[in-house]
Symmetry: C2
């Protein structure tokens, strides 16, 4: 049998490859690069085919496909959300994704995206804060200290200059894990006994909790003037983190309204409540934060373009590293009309007709 | 570093594995098994989450995601359609797919699907003909002798008892390829110089051409009473193969109307023109062919459930064969909340903080 041609091979980035790539580049530099890549794609937002994620819901979770294209590349992510997985020692969220060439439809890259999603989510949050948070922000409260927490902390350090993170989780073990993981990384890390304590002196409050229910992680009186809220955890129907009254007095910035109206904090508001698309701020069409005492909210649910940017950046960053495995994923007959002939020629000798 | 656990590994069926599996089972037996698996899933059609495919169109092609779920398993296929690819020696259609566990959202299988799509498309066509074609059908005309042709011929032999295929293609080289590939497989193979010649004496006419345009492969006067039409090639907006007048006098059977109205032959008809869902025939709710002189049409565009059935069958058939490669695709920290810790522990010694 002839070995498959270059076109038929798709580079696959495994979990181990991705971890090696992160260390090769450095976690903070990679977060900065991803934030820049995502920001550049938000700036050319109208170039993209956009659609809300395609979700398949069950009683205990959801499996989603998140596709987008800029006319040159096409990307999609497969991602699940199963809050009960943790009880079986499994990840709540796992993901993988594909980048493809629009001109031929051939895949260019298959990659794990559990780690990459953690990185891109944190990079997106910090990128948004660069446009929305008070410019002198040095202290961030992190409410919810699960799998995303350290990534958020380092992204805000590297991208926004945060020097202190104040941690709170209903489970002290999660906070302890986070404290240990962030030790020696140049951040002042303060574990707190309550959400109220965590937000003391914070210019930025990040909420990143996991329960699928209408939760009130922050009540109205906890949010002072001028604070920037980065609401990461509310990302599906029925899952919110902020009291509705906070939303009513905040300047609200979102990724893609048709998706955020269903999945974000603003599912609690009227469907015509005014929100600003973050890309419009980045493209210079509308202002971000307008007053020092304004409460700004990035109601983040995660959008396909962020995954697209991340996949494209990883595809670029992979060159020369060897941190991938070529997969024989695309059938590649010498004559494209002769798929059947290729199949026949692959028959073991004794079975040949 | 600890090696990833079993949960984190996803079996990958490469193109070469798939070809070996096909020969291990036998092409015709596998086509029969796939037809039975697809038929069984059509019979329980209401169990499935159904959505038209999610398409990203460009000037020169389309990339699509086709997801579905029966509440226990979730499957999706990535497939492109680029008619111009052939001129660069690339496949018009390539595909891969994933089967996942709805309970956890974890992928169970990643598989090439270029070959598997060719098999499932042929198996679906022949399965539909089992319900719709005249019972004594022995002769099939095959108009369009490209990559799908031999799969169709063998499926109709194995599943419907077709003994003679009459081949026609505007490109005689395609017909010659098809004749050579089908030699010695127990079919009488008759190359023809025109579509008119090909349909002589045929009870079943399969059209499977590739151009994206409103083509008239069959005109009205070519289709005699009692014939079953298997229209495979028309499968996207603007791509049809049959003259509208044929449709007006045929009993039309489709997979999923919301998709077929846009992509199938019936895009030429009023949006409320009566069509029958094939699954209703299989489930015994409505009759298939009602008269010996009825013209029946299976207006096939390919639906996600067929891919789901094929993936599930391959997943079952794979057991014990070793015809797969385990991919480290799912991040698997010991503590699911400690994704960052897993990443840190993977750091090369010299970089460790």
């Amino acid at each position: 049998m002839t070995p498959p041609s270059r076109q038929a091979l798709v580079p696959f980035v495994s979990v181990d490859h991705m971890m090696q790539l992160v260390h090769h580049v450095g976690i903070e530099p990679l977060l900065v690069e991803l934030a820049d890549a995502i920001e550049a794609d938000f700036r050319r937002w109208p170039d993209f085919d956009k659609t809300p994620r395609v979700a398949s819901h069950s009683d205990i979770g959801v499996i989603e496909l998140m596709p987008t294209s800029d006319g040159q590349h096409y990307g999609f992510k497969y991602v699940n959300g199963h809050p009960g997985n943790m009880r079986q020692g499994l990840q709540t969220v796992t993901a993988f994704g594909v980048l493809a060439d629009v001109a031929t439809g051939y895949p260019l890259l298959l990659s794990e995206m559990t780690i990459l999603t953690a990185l891109r989510t944190a990079a997106t949050s910090a990128m948004a804060a660069r446009w929305l948070a008070p410019h002198d922000s040095r202290v961030m409260a992190m409410i919810g200290n699960g799998a995303q927490a350290e990534f958020q902390a380092l992204a805000f350090k590297a991208i926004c200059g945060i020097a202190e993170v104040r941690l709170y989780d209903i489970d002290p073990a999660a906070t302890a894990k986070c404290v240990a993981n962030l030790a020696g990384r140049g951040l002042r890390v303060v574990p707190c006994a309550s959400a109220e304590e965590a937000i003391l002196g914070a210019q930025i409050v990040t909420t990143c909790t996991a329960d699928k229910q209408y939760a009130t992680i922050l009540s109205d009186n906890m949010v002072g003037a001028g604070v920037h809220l980065n609401a990461v955890g509310g990302d599906c129907p029925g899952k919110t983190e902020l009291h509705r009254d906070i939303l009513l007095r905040a300047g609200i910035f979102v990724e893609y309204p048709p998706q955020t109206r269903v999945e974000g904090e603003i599912q609690q508001l009227d469907p015509d409540h005014a929100v600003t698309e973050l890309w419009q701020v980045i493209a210079g069409h509308v202002p971000g934060r307008t007053r020092a005492d304004q409460v700004t909210l990035f109601d983040s649910v995660g959008f396909a373009i962020e995954d697209f940017s991340a996949l494209r950046h990883i595809h670029k960053r992979l060159q020369g590293t060897g941190l991938f495995l070529d997969l024989d994923m695309i059938a590649d007959p010498d004559d494209p009309r002769d798929l059947f002939g290729m199949l026949c020629r692959a028959a073991p000798r004794q079975d040949a007709a």
